[in-house]
């Protein structure tokens, strides 16, 4: 919604894309969460299954260990059937075992079954996984100390099996949980979609309110909007306010300009009619002189109107850039001189030696300076000085003359067309342009009467550091 003309926009698509973005984001977050939970569930299932089946292994190893005895000074193992029946509870798993005597000799079983990775330590069973033959097995190693008169030493019992049953059990434990998680995720997604529709409803309401408005109605509107959208509504209202003011200015300007034009054009017509009927050459010459100065006045008025319109337009469109006010002054002076304004030779420049930097639009500032100079030349008393200087916080461009000036408070200067009916060449728009420029630069229009006498009017702008010039 970036244009006041609401027709032809496609706000439905725009709002759907917010929903899409939110939906994608939430799905992503949800997917990560679900992946983490699924991983954790599998881990849990695996460890639960491992616990269960490690007990089988331990039990079998203990049963075998119990049946190790010493006969005639030799270790003898009578492997119990029950140990294998215990292991066979994991129905499809292959079983491997090995009993190692005190001297490292395999007493019975698979003599290539790998030992635990660490050196035998204590009687505590060590559980480990290892590749064996064509498969991977989980094994337990259990030691039993023999302490007979004829033989003492450690017997190592290793029992191992493949892990089909573990994997199956782990899956059995994890699967219902994962099914639950899947269902929950679907439910969350569905609820999220509903919530999103609900949450985005105010946007749609604002959209409808905007659409329902009269296109010419630029007054602020106050829909029932939640806090998150209030800033958006504010922005829209500020925008419409600006638009409204612009339209106002434009209408006023057009009205004023029409009024300003009408009077001198009427006068010009009257004088030219008089001139047609005039037969006395002496008076005809006087009339011709009046017609000429009236025409000059009209042309200046046209210039100023256009200049005003241009400045007004630039205020809206041109970005302010750092510039040196001395350069503005020099160019303004040069243009005044080349335009052949009367008494232009009475103008002096008084420029600071350092650059005077401010943020501004060079064209607008130049126009403002020219208008100030023209006013001083016309109404003030020489000598006239165009002074550019700067303080810590401000940069200024000021026109000083030795005349009496006028008696208006600074904040009223240039607020309306000045009327100087006795000087037909004046258009009276100069100060209005200055004011416009000052306002667009967030500056200040200053009017002072210095103690040494005379009258000074100028523009005060916030100063910028010199580095900003670069």
């Amino acid at each position: 919604m970036n244009a006041p003309s609401t027709r032809g926009l496609r706000p439905r698509v725009a709002s759907r894309s917010i929903a899409l973005r939110l939906g994608l984001l939430l799905t992503l977050v949800l997917a990560i969460a679900v992946a983490a939970v699924v991983f954790a569930t599998f881990r849990y299932g695996r460890s639960a299954a491992d616990q269960a089946f490690d007990r089988l292994l331990t039990g079998a190893a203990l049963q075998i260990g119990e049946r190790v005895s010493v006969v005639d000074g030799k270790p003898v193992v009578d492997v119990p059937l029950s140990a294998f029946e215990l292991l066979a509870l994991a129905r499809d798993d292959r079983i491997f075992y090995r009993v190692i005597g005190p001297h490292g000799k395999t007493l019975t079983g698979y003599d290539d079954l790998p030992l635990p990775p660490t050196a035998p330590a204590g009687a505590s069973p060590r559980i480990y996984e290892t590749p064996y033959r064509d498969t991977r097995v989980r094994a337990i190693a259990l030691s039993r100390d023999l302490a007979e008169r004829s033989l003492s030493g450690r017997v190592e019992i290793i029992v191992a099996h493949t892990m089909l049953a573990r994997t199956a059990l782990a899956r059995e434990i994890a699967m219902p949980a994962i099914a639950g998680i899947a269902l929950a995720s679907l439910a969350i997604l569905a609820l999220t979609l509903l919530a999103m529709r609900y949450a985005l409803r105010p946007l749609r309401r604002i959209e409808r309110a905007m659409l329902a408005r009269d296109p010419r109605d630029l007054t602020p509107f106050h829909p029932d909007a939640p806090r998150e959208v209030a800033t958006l509504v504010d922005a829209i209202n500020r925008f419409m306010g600006r638009l409204d003011r612009r339209l106002d200015t434009m209408e006023r300007f057009v009205a004023d300009a029409a009024h300003q034009m009408r009077t001198p054009v009427t006068a010009l017509r009257a004088q030219s009619e008089l001139a047609i009927e005039e037969t006395d050459p002496e008076r005809l010459r006087a009339l011709q002189g009046r017609i000429r100065s009236r025409a000059i006045g009209i042309s200046r008025l046209m210039d100023q109107l256009l200049s005003h319109a241009l400045v007004t337009h630039r205020v809206e469109t041109v970005e302010l850039a750092a510039l040196d006010l001395r350069r503005v002054a020099i160019e303004a002076e040069r243009e005044i001189r080349s335009a052949g304004v009367a008494q232009a030779e009475l103008l002096h420049l008084d420029l600071s030696e350092d650059p005077v930097i401010a943020a501004g639009d060079a064209f607008s500032l130049r126009e403002a300076a020219k208008n100030l100079i023209a006013n001083a030349l016309r109404y003030g008393a020489p000598p006239i000085t165009l002074r550019v200087e700067h303080s810590k916080d401000h940069a200024s461009i000021v026109v000083h003359d030795e005349g009496g000036g006028f008696d208006l408070p600074a904040d009223e200067v240039g607020t309306r067309f000045a009327r100087h009916e006795n000087t037909p060449e004046s258009a009276g728009l100069g100060l209005a342009i200055v004011r416009e420029v000052v306002e667009s630069h967030q500056g200040e229009l200053t009017v002072t009467r210095p103690v040494e006498g005379g009258f000074a009017i100028g523009i005060l702008l916030p100063a910028l550091d010199e580095e900003r010039m670069a």
């Binding site: 003898v76 193992v77 009578d78 492997v79 119990p80 059937l81 140990a83 294998f84 029946e85 292991l87 066979a88 129905r91 499809d92 798993d93 292959r94 079983i95 491997f96 009993v99 007493l107 019975t108 079983g109 033959r133 064509d134 498969t135």
Partner: protein, 361 residues
């Protein structure tokens, strides 16, 4: 079909152990156009498998079958050696030495069998989908009808022990498996020892009566039939029943305290040349047609229905039939330390059994 079947008997002296002979029989493809050859290695006497092979070949006329026979111990040793070396022995190995078959699977020497019918079998008859029991093989007592009076016939092991104690007439006239040489005999004996304490007294009686030990069921049946033996213990029931049907001199007892049942276990080695065909053969043996061939043709009881058939045959109040499950628990029977101890006890009880070099391991 049988007319077309040309059976060539090639007796190959492969094993050097005690002159143990291995034989190879060739069944040419029924169509005469051999596309695939399936090699079956088995301990079975060929007559028991002939009907199944015939039925399979009538279904698959392009398949030739090479049938290799050996003793269970030789067969297991050769199969394990082949597995170690990654060499080929056969596409299918069938043996009643269930413990050895299970160990073969446990050692990772076999591969899964693609036969969905396996899942429908009772739990005891398959393991890991890699070894599957085709038949039910009960262990029975056989007797010579002329030599043992009807009221003397031992209906259970207690009666057998009592009979052997009471009478001197059985000395030298009772036979059983040589459990040192026969995998089946060993497994029957081992399971007997696990099942009940009767075993100790039984072998003591055997020893006192100078028991004769034989490699195979056939030898015992021959001797019981002609009266050289009066009693045979732990004889394969399917063979005994097949023989008893034709020979009225032989009587059979399913021991009433419990009757053990082994199974003819089939597996496909990892190095099989024709694993798919091997699976197809096993699947066929489990199918209705295959079961009929086994049952009608050879008098064997298929694993799927065998226990029920057996119970029906014996009568409603018959003995409990205890199938020995194909499970890694059978590995205990083959544990070296355990086996050494068990055989030592056996030898000590049956002092008359000569300790040949072969029985030592």
């Amino acid at each position: 079909m049988t007319a077309r079947m040309i059976a060539t008997l090639l007796v190959l002296l492969l094993g050097t152990n005690a002159g143990a002979a291995a034989s190879r029989t060739q069944f040419d493809a029924a169509s005469g156009d051999v596309r695939e050859t399936l090699t079956i290695a088995s301990v079975t006497d060929l007559w028991a498998f002939r009907p199944l092979i015939a039925a399979f070949q009538s279904r698959h006329p392009e398949v030739a079958i090479s049938y290799l026979q050996d003793t269970s111990r030789n067969l297991d040793e050769r199969a394990r050696a082949a597995c170690r070396d990654g060499a080929f022995l056969a596409d299918v190995i069938v043996s009643t030495a269930d413990a050895e078959q299970v160990r073969f699977v446990n050692d990772g020497c076999s591969q899964p069998i693609a036969a969905p019918a396996i899942d429908a079998l009772p739990e005891w008859a398959h393991w890991r989908g890699e070894v599957v029991g085709l038949t039910v093989e009960p262990g029975v007592i056989v007797y010579n009808r002329a030599g043992v009076a009807a009221d003397e016939v031992p209906r259970d092991r207690f009666a057998l022990v009592d009979l052997l104690r009471r009478s001197e007439r059985f000395t030298g006239r009772i036979g059983t498996y040589d459990i040192v040489r026969s995998g089946v005999g060993y497994l029957f004996a081992f399971e007997d020892a696990v099942q009940a304490t009767t075993w100790g007294r039984l072998i003591e009686s055997f020893g006192r009566n100078d028991v004769g030990t034989y490699c195979c069921t056939g030898e015992i049946l021959d001797r019981v039939a002609d009266g050289r033996l009066l009693l045979g213990y732990n004889v394969l029931g399917s063979y005994a029943m097949a023989r008893a049907r034709k020979d009225p001199r032989i009587g059979i007892v399913f021991p009433r305290d419990y009757t053990l049942a082994l199974t003819r276990a089939a597996l496909v080695p990892k190095a099989a040349h024709e694993p798919e065909l091997a699976s197809a053969f096993i699947a066929f043996a489990l199918s209705r047609a295959g079961r009929t061939a086994l049952e009608k043709g050879a008098g064997l009881m298929p694993a799927a229905t065998g226990i029920a058939t057996l119970q029906a045959k014996i009568g409603g109040s018959g003995p409990p039939i205890r199938p020995v499950a194909l499970s890694p628990a059978l590995l205990v029977a083959l544990d070296e330390a355990k086996k050494t101890m068990f055989l030592k006890q056996w030898r000590q009880s049956i002092a008359s059994v000569p300790e040949t070099g072969e029985t030592k391991r």
